[in-house]
């Protein structure tokens, strides 16, 4: 009974911490907590990614918890758009494109297996932004999608 309470408390602290991390992230588009899935065909696996921006580089973890995986590399590659003239309701601008490259070592053989996610951020300035794209791990490949919490 006491063990259950302790577990519940740890879960609560984790979820609360996640919620705090998830708030207040409308600046750097990659920063914050992302949740979604990846897989091949109908087989999907949950995926949580937490990223921080220090002004020069992104750090973070994949699937937080006891077996969290540190992110090796996370970068944005931005293709500039055509800026709209300053003024309300401008519809002449072409938005920049935000590509994402995410790399980490999945648990496995010594040092893990290099895993690479390549995607595009949709609606990068909004709180409900998403990333979707493809991933590869050795010969494995599939699709993924993440939404910003």
């Amino acid at each position: 009974m006491r063990m259950k309470s302790v577990r519940a408390f740890i879960l609560f602290v984790f979820v609360a911490g996640l919620a705090v991390t998830a708030r207040a992230q409308e600046g750097y588009p990659l920063a914050g907590t992302w949740y979604g899935d990846y897989g091949t065909g109908n087989q999907k696996n949950d995926l949580t990614v937490i990223m921080k921006w220090d002004g020069k580089s992104v750090s973070g973890i994949v699937n937080p918890g006891p077996n969290a995986i540190p992110i090796k590399s996370a970068v944005m590659d931005i293709t500039p758009g055509k800026p709209a003239p300053e003024g309300r309701n401008s519809t002449t601008g072409i938005p920049p494109v935000f590509k994402v490259h995410l790399e980490f070592n999945a648990p496995g053989a010594a040092g893990g297996t290099p895993t690479v996610f390549e995607g595009t951020i949709q609606n990068p300035v909004a709180g409900n932004r998403r990333i979707s794209g493809t991933w590869t791990r050795g010969a494995e490949r599939g699709t993924f999608q993440l939404r910003h919490l």
Binding site: A24, E26, G55, I78, A84, P96
Partner: protein, 291 residues
């Protein structure tokens, strides 16, 4: 292309239209002139120069001061309560946008925000620092010397307020980020210098979407140069967004005597902007209910 209408040729029509346009233009000039003078009348101020009617305005009264000589940034005891009118909508930069030291991602975000206008303030989110001075309904400064703090209350939007601590305290080590952040001020001569930290990323610093991160340290300098003028300048120090700190040019807020805070209810999904009263420059606060 030439055509006829009811037997009159197009040159005759053009003459008629020209006459009508000239008459309308003349009427408009007369009316605009009258409105300009009328608008100046209740708020005598030193004009910024060049505005119609500004030259006729009497000189502004000197900077009001407390007994200890410090400038009063808000309403003056014994005089009608007032507030500061809206300032600029974009943080002013002398050389334009290209002089802002954006990191590449920040410039891209700025560009995107010119297309997708999802400004949090217009969705009732409290929007701190310089964005407080772009609300069309103005702001009111309330200093409470006994408490050694000042409140900057903004009308419209979330209808909320920011606290500026003036008691010499230091910033706490871990500030929970909020929309208004944690502001500490001190006087440098006649200028109130306010530094704000602990800002979250849930708001825009101006209506155009100049971006920032939670690493932002925002420094403001308020100088009431006379009764009707509050000079405002900001320094943006945010290594998460900019390659170096940058400072805006000085812009001015204008005193609006008689402007009092009024009840303003902001609700998300408000699809009735046409029910707003007045415009950015001229708001009618005389109605008890403001839809």
């Amino acid at each position: 292309m030439s055509f006829r209408i009811n037997g009159r040729d197009d040159s005759a029509m053009r003459m008629t239209r020209l006459f009508a346009k000239t008459a309308i233009l003349g009427l408009a000039i007369v009316l605009t002139g009258n409105i300009g003078v009328t608008a100046q009348a209740p708020a005598p101020a030193q004009g910024r120069g060049g505005g119609r009617g500004a030259a006729a305005a009497p000189p502004s009264a000197p900077t009001p001061r407390r007994a200890d000589g410090k400038p009063i940034l808000g309403s003056v005891p014994g005089q009608p309560v007032g507030g500061w009118g809206a300032g600029v909508t974009t943080l002013p930069r002398g050389g334009g946008l290209d002089e802002v030291p954006f990191q590449p991602w920040a410039r891209a975000v700025y560009d995107i925000r010119q297309i997708d206008q999802f400004e949090p303030h217009t969705r009732c989110k409290a929007s701190g620092v310089s964005r407080q001075f772009s609300t069309p309904y103005g702001t009111e400064f309330v200093e409470v010397p006994d408490l050694q703090r000042m409140y900057i209350m903004d009308n419209g939007g979330p209808n909320s307020y920011r606290i500026i601590y003036l008691d010499g305290r230091s910033f706490p080590p871990n500030i929970a980020p909020t929309n208004y952040g944690y502001s500490i001020g001190h006087w440098e001569g006649d200028t109130l210098v306010v530094e704000t930290r602990g800002l979250n990323e849930k708001f825009w610093m101006d209506t155009r979407g100049t971006p920032h991160t939670a690493q932002l340290k925002f420094t403001e300098r308020f100088t009431r140069s006379d009764m009707n003028t509050l000079k405002y300048q900001a320094t943006i120090d945010d290594p998460g967004t900019y390659t170096k700190p940058w400072t805006t040019t000085v812009f001015e807020l204008r005193w609006r005597p008689g402007d009092e805070l009024f009840e303003y209810i902001c609700q998300q999904s408000n699809y009735g902007p046409e029910l707003m009263v007045g415009s950015q420059e001229d708001v009618d606060n005389t109605r008890f209910f403001v839809p």
